[in-house]
C-alpha cells in the first residue's frame, strides 16, 4: 500500500470488457446480497459470505471527477485525500492509526464516477470501523496547513502517475479530445495548473455539496449476519443528518459528426495507436441500445478476451518481418455514469507505421462486420465469464467492489446475475450487426503517440542504447 488514491486509467474507468457477475450458477449455495435504505436516505448493501472471519467494508459516494467543474479539476480526488486528515474528534493521521490498531487494511480511490473508501478487517471489529468511517464522512475537518502539505503529495502523485509516463499523458489528451462537453474530458487527478490553484475552500465546498447520506452507500461483504449489520448501520450511519443532494446537470456530449485525430509527441521508442469509437452505455434495460451494448461486450471479448483471440492472432502473431504489432487490445466500458467508448489499441512492431497498425485494427472490425463470428467463439467467451463469476467468489473485497459500482451506476444488487443472463442471449448475428453499425469514422477519435527523439532526455546511461530491429 503506497498511497490513498488508486486512479482508474483515465479512459477506462469502468469495469473493462469482462463483466463479472456477483453471483454464480451455484447460486443456491451462495448467500445473496440485500439492499436497504436507512432512515436518513443512505443506502446499505450487505452480502454475507461466512467462509472466513473477515469483512470488506466500503463507503461509496456518488461523486467523482465527472461532478467537477472547470478550474477545480481534481477536487474530488483531493477531497478523498483530505478525508484522512481528521474530524473534530480525530487528529490528522489518527484515523489511519486507529484503523491499523484494529487490524484493518484501508485505502480509498477516486474514479470518474465515484469516490470510495474501503477497509478489510477482522469481522469482530466491524462496529469500530463503521464508527470511524461514519465520523469522517459526516464531520471531516482540517486546518489549512494540512491541506498545503497534502496538495504537495497530490502533485507528487500526478507526477508519478501521469507526468512520468508518456502513455498516461497521451491517454489524458485523448480523453480531452474524445469528449468536448462531457466532464469525462478532464483527468481524474486534475490538470496541474488546477492543482496549483486549488484552495482549501474549493475542497470544503465540494465536500459540503456532495457528501450527504442520500448520495452514499455502505457496502459490506463477508462474515456478517444481515439483520445485525442493518441494525448497526442504522445506529451509526443512520444518525447522520439527512440533506438533499444537489441537482445534477446533464452535461451531455453532443453527437460527434466527423473523425478527430491527434498526435502526441514524446520521448519514446515505441509508438502507440488508440482508436476510440463512441458507443452506447448499458442501462440494464431492454432498449435496442442495451442489446447493442451486450453485443459490443461480446465483440470486445472475441477480439481480445483470451490468449490467441482475434487481435493477437491478426496483429501480434505472424512471421518475423510481417508482424504488425508488439501488442494489441480491445476494451469497452459497457456502463458508467457518462458516455462510453469502444477502444482499440496497438503498439506497432519495429518498422511498422502507426498507420499500418491502425489499418490492421480496423480490418479486424471489418472482418467481423463482413463475416460475423463463429458459435464456438461466442460459447468460449461465455464460458470464460461463467468461470470468472466462480473465481470472483474467492474475494469478498471484489464482491463489495462489484456491488458498489452497480449502485454508483444506479443499478440494483442483482445486476451481476442479470447481466450474465442477458449476455447468454447474445447471438452471432447481433455481434456482426454492431460491428457493422458502430465503427464509422464519423464516431472515431484517433490518437497516436509519436516517438520524438528531440524530446529524449539527456541520459548518462549505463550502456549504449541498443538499436531496435528485427533479429
Amino acid at each position: 500500500m503506497c498511497g490513498t488514491a488508486l486512479l482508474a486509467p483515465a479512459h477506462a474507468a469502468s469495469a473493462t470488457a469482462s463483466p463479472v457477475a456477483e453471483a454464480a450458477p451455484l447460486a443456491a449455495a451462495v448467500p445473496v446480497a440485500q439492499q436497504f435504505t436507512l432512515s436518513n436516505g443512505m443506502t446499505l448493501i450487505v452480502r454475507p459470505d461466512r467462509r472466513a472471519p473477515t469483512v470488506a467494508h466500503m463507503l461509496w459516494v456518488r461523486v467523482g471527477s465527472l461532478d467537477e467543474v472547470s478550474g477545480t479539476s481534481g477536487v474530488a480526488h483531493v477531497l478523498e485525500h483530505m478525508l484522512f486528515k481528521g474530524t473534530p474528534s480525530l487528529a490528522p493521521g489518527e484515523f489511519s492509526r486507529r484503523m491499523a490498531a484494529l487490524g484493518a487494511r484501508e485505502n480509498a480511490f477516486t474514479s470518474r464516477d465515484a469516490t470510495a473508501y474501503h477497509q478489510q478487517l477482522p469481522s469482530n471489529q466491524l462496529e469500530a470501523v463503521m464508527r470511524l468511517e461514519a465520523d469522517r464522512f459526516a464531520n471531516n475537518q482540517w486546518a489549512d496547513d494540512e491541506f498545503v502539505r497534502e496538495m504537495a503529495v497530490v502533485k507528487e502523485e500526478r507526477r508519478q502517475r501521469t507526468e512520468e509516463s508518456p502513455r498516461a499523458r497521451m491517454f489524458e489528451a485523448f480523453s480531452a479530445m474524445s469528449f468536448q462537453a462531457h466532464p469525462y474530458r478532464r483527468p481524474i487527478i486534475g490538470w496541474m495548473s488546477d492543482l496549483d490553484a486549488m484552495t482549501p475552500q474549493d475542497v470544503r465546498d465540494f465536500y459540503r455539496r456532495w457528501y450527504m447520506p442520500s448520495n452514499a452507500a455502505v457496502v459490506i461483504a463477508g462474515d456478517v449476519e444481515v439483520l445485525q449489520v442493518k441494525a448497526l448501520a442504522e445506529k451509526i450511519y443512520g444518525q447522520i443528518p439527512a440533506r438533499a443532494a444537489p441537482v445534477r446537470k446533464p452535461q451531455e456530449e453532443p453527437e460527434q459528426t466527423g473523425p478527430r485525430r491527434m498526435e502526441y509527441r514524446a520521448a519514446a521508442d515505441q509508438a502507440l495507436v488508440v482508436l476510440g469509437y463512441k458507443a452506447p452505455s448499458w442501462s440494464g434495460g431492454d432498449a435496442p441500445a442495451d442489446q447493442d451494448a451486450l453485443a459490443l461486450t461480446v465483440l470486445s471479448a472475441v477480439l481480445d478476451g483470451y490468449s490467441g483471440a482475434r487481435l493477437e492472432r491478426a496483429l501480434v502473431q505472424g512471421a518475423p518481418g510481417q508482424r504488425i504489432a508488439d501488442s494489441a487490445g480491445a476494451s469497452y466500458g459497457l456502463m458508467g455514469r457518462g458516455p462510453q467508448l469502444f477502444s482499440l489499441t496497438a503498439v506497432p512492431a519495429a518498422g511498422v507505421t502507426p498507420a499500418a497498425a491502425e489499418a490492421a485494427l480496423k480490418a479486424e472490425l471489418q472482418r467481423v462486420a463482413r463475416e460475423g463470428i463463429g458459435p464456438a467463439e461466442l460459447k468460449r467467451v461465455i464460458t470464460q465469464w461463467t468461470a470468472g463469476e466462480v473465481y470472483q467468489l474467492d474475494s469478498v473485497f471484489n464482491q463489495a467492489r462489484e456491488l458498489g459500482s452497480y449502485w454508483i451506476n444506479g443499478m440494483d444488487i442483482h445486476t451481476g446475475d442479470w447481466l450474465m443472463q442477458r449476455l447468454r442471449t447474445v447471438t452471432p448475428a447481433q455481434v456482426q450487426s454492431v460491428a457493422q453499425r458502430y465503427f464509422s469514422d464519423e464516431q472515431l477519435t484517433t490518437a497516436v503517440l509519436v516517438p520524438d527523439p528531440s524530446k529524449r532526455p539527456t541520459v548518462a546511461s549505463d550502456r549504449p542504447r541498443p538499436a531496435l530491429g528485427r533479429n
Binding site: 491499523a100 445485525q228 521508442d269 515505441q270 490468449s307 503498439v347 550502456r463
Partner: protein
C-alpha cells in the same frame, strides 16, 4: 463489541478459528512416489481449485550471459505442445482456445528463487479432468517453438528499449548492480542476454530444474486427499522424464564494504531514489523481529515512520516505503521514494535520518504495540481466500516451515521485543555502508 456479532464466528467456515487444539489451517502433507512434497488444504465452499508447483529454478540459476533464461523458459513453456503418442500437437491458438473453453487458467513464471507453474480451474468433474490433463500435456511435451521465441524476443527487447526512456529503469538497474555485485540476484536482462538465449537453452533449463524429486505441489480448493493424490500423480508423471539432476549450490550475496552513491542525470518529472544493501536470508532466526521492525520503519503503510516523516509531515513524496526481500540468499533491503527533482536531496536527508535513528534506537514502545495490534488483529486477512491460502501454503513448503507455522504466527509476532528489533536491525542494516541511487535529481 456487539456480543451477537462475536457469536457469528460459530458459522460453518472454511477456516476454523476455534480456541481448541485444532489447527487454524489444517494442512495435509505427504510425499509423492516421485519425491515431490505435497501440501493440501481442502476448501470446499467454492467449486474451484488452485494448484502451484514450485521448483528450484528461479533467476538465481540464470547464467550471467543468458540473464532472463528462467523467466523466458516460463513464458515459452506455455507456448505450444508437441505431439505425444495418441495425442496431436497443439499450436498456440489451439492451446489458447482449449484453456478458454475449460474456463481455466494456466501459467508459469520465475522469481529470484523459484520456478513456478500454476493452475486455476473449476472442480466440475469434466472440467477438472480436462484442465489437469491439459496441464500435464503442457508439462510433459512443451514444444519450444523457434518461431514463437523469435517473435517474443523481439517484443521483449522492444519493451526493454522503451523502458530505457523511464528513470525508474535506470534506478533499478544501478541499485541491483551496486547491491548484488556479481550475484545472480543482480543480473540484468538485456537485449544482448536475450539474443544469447536459444530454445535449446530453455529445453535444457526446464529439464534440469523441473524435477519431481525437488518439486513442491500446493493445492487449495474443493477436492479431497484422494483427488489431490491423483492430480499430483498425473502432473509429476508428466515431468518424470526430466529426471533428477543434482544442482550446484549458489554463492551467497557478498556484504558491502563501503558506502556508494550513484547519481545518474536524467531529465525527468520526478527524481527516483533508492537506498539499501543486502538484507537477510529467509532462514534467519530473527525473521520476526526484522519484519516487525520494517513494518514500523516503512512497511506499514500510512502509519510507518518513513511515510510519516517524508510524506505526512513534509509532503515530499506520494510513495515512500521500505522492504526486505529475504530469500535463499540475502535479498535487498530497500528504501524507495520518488519526488520532484529539486527536492531529492532534502528527501534523501530525511529518509537517511529516519533510517539511522531507527537502526540506532529501534522502535518506541508505542510503535511496537501499534505494529503488533495491526499484525495480530489483522492476521485473518492473510488467509481469508483460497488465493492467499495458496501463497501461504507454498511459502511454508518452500521455506521448510513447520506445518503449524500459521497457527503460531501471531504468537511469534507477540513475542518480539523492542530490544529484539533493535538488535536484529542493527546487525543486519549498516546505514554507513549503504548504496544510494539517485536518478534525475536537480539542484
Amino acid at each position: 463489541m456487539n456480543p451477537s456479532l462475536k457469536s457469528l464466528a460459530a458459522s460453518v467456515l472454511l477456516l476454523t478459528f476455534a480456541s481448541t487444539a485444532q489447527a487454524v489451517i489444517p494442512i495435509q502433507h505427504w510425499t509423492h512416489a516421485s519425491g515431490a512434497r505435497v501440501y493440501l488444504v481442502p476448501s470446499p465452499s467454492i467449486p474451484m481449485l488452485d494448484v502451484q508447483i514450485n521448483v528450484d529454478g528461479g533467476s538465481r540459476r540464470d547464467p550471467v550471459a543468458r540473464a532472463g533464461l528462467a523467466s523466458v523458459t516460463g513464458s515459452m513453456l506455455l507456448a505450444e505442445v508437441a505431439p505425444q503418442p495418441g495425442q496431436p500437437a497443439l499450436d498456440e491458438n489451439q492451446l489458447g482456445e482449449a484453456w478458454a473453453d475449460l474456463g481455466a487458467q494456466f501459467g508459469a513464471s520465475a522469481s529470484g528463487d523459484r520456478f513456478s507453474v500454476s493452475l486455476r480451474t473449476l472442480t466440475e468433474p469434466d472440467l477438472l479432468r480436462g484442465a489437469v490433463a491439459l496441464a500435464a500435456r503442457q508439462l510433459a511435451a512443451p514444444a519450444w517453438p523457434e518461431r514463437i521465441w523469435q517473435r517474443d524476443r523481439e517484443r521483449t527487447i522492444a519493451a526493454l528499449v522503451e523502458a530505457e526512456n523511464r528513470p525508474a529503469t535506470h534506478a533499478a538497474r544501478a541499485f541491483g548492480a551496486a547491491v548484488y555485485g556479481n550475484h545472480p540476484y543482480g543480473f540484468d536482462t538485456t537485449p544482448a542476454t536475450l539474443n544469447a538465449i536459444s530454445v535449446a537453452d530453455m529445453r535444457d533449463f526446464y529439464r534440469r530444474h523441473m524435477a519431481a524429486c525437488r518439486a513442491q505441489v500446493s493445492l487449495v480448493g474443493a477436492i479431497n486427499r484422494a483427488q489431490a493424490d491423483r492430480i499430483v500423480d498425473q502432473l509429476m508423471t508428466a515431468i518424470a522424464p526430466n529426471g533428477c539432476t543434482a544442482l550446484s549450490p549458489v554463492a551467497q550475496v557478498t556484504p558491502l564494504t563501503a558506502a556508494l552513491e550513484r547519481r545518474i542525470p536524467f531529465d525527468a518529472a520526478q527524481a527516483q531514489v533508492q537506498i539499501g544493501q543486502p538484507g537477510f536470508v529467509r532462514s534467519d532466526p530473527n525473521f520476526f523481529p526484522l519484519i516487525v521492525g520494517n513494518h514500523i520503519l516503512g512497511g506499514g503503510g500510512f502509519t510507518s515512520r518513513l511515510t510519516n516523516e517524508v510524506r505526512e509531515k513534509r509532503g515530499l513524496s506520494y510513495s515512500v516505503y521500505s522492504f526486505f526481500a529475504p530469500g535463499l540468499h540475502a535479498g535487498a533491503f530497500q528504501i524507495g521514494l520518488t519526488t520532484r527533482p529539486d527536492q531529492a536531496d532534502k528527501a534523501i536527508g530525511v529518509a537517511r535520518e529516519v533510517l539511522q535513528r531507527f537502526v540506532r534506537e529501534g522502535p518506541t514502545e508505542t510503535e511496537l504495540r501499534a505494529a503488533k495490534d495491526n499484525l495480530v488483529n489483522g492476521f485473518a486477512l492473510r488467509i481469508d481466500s483460497n488465493r492467499k491460502l495458496l501463497d501461504n501454503v507454498a511459502n511454508i513448503a518452500w521455506n521448510g516451515l513447520p506445518l503449524d507455522y500459521l497457527d503460531h504466527w501471531t504468537e511469534q509476532v507477540q513475542r518480539v521485543s523492542q530490544a529484539d528489533i533493535q538488535r536484529a536491525v542493527s546487525r543486519v542494516l549498516q546505514p554507513e555502508r549503504m548504496v544510494t541511487v539517485v536518478v534525475g535529481a536537480k539542484p
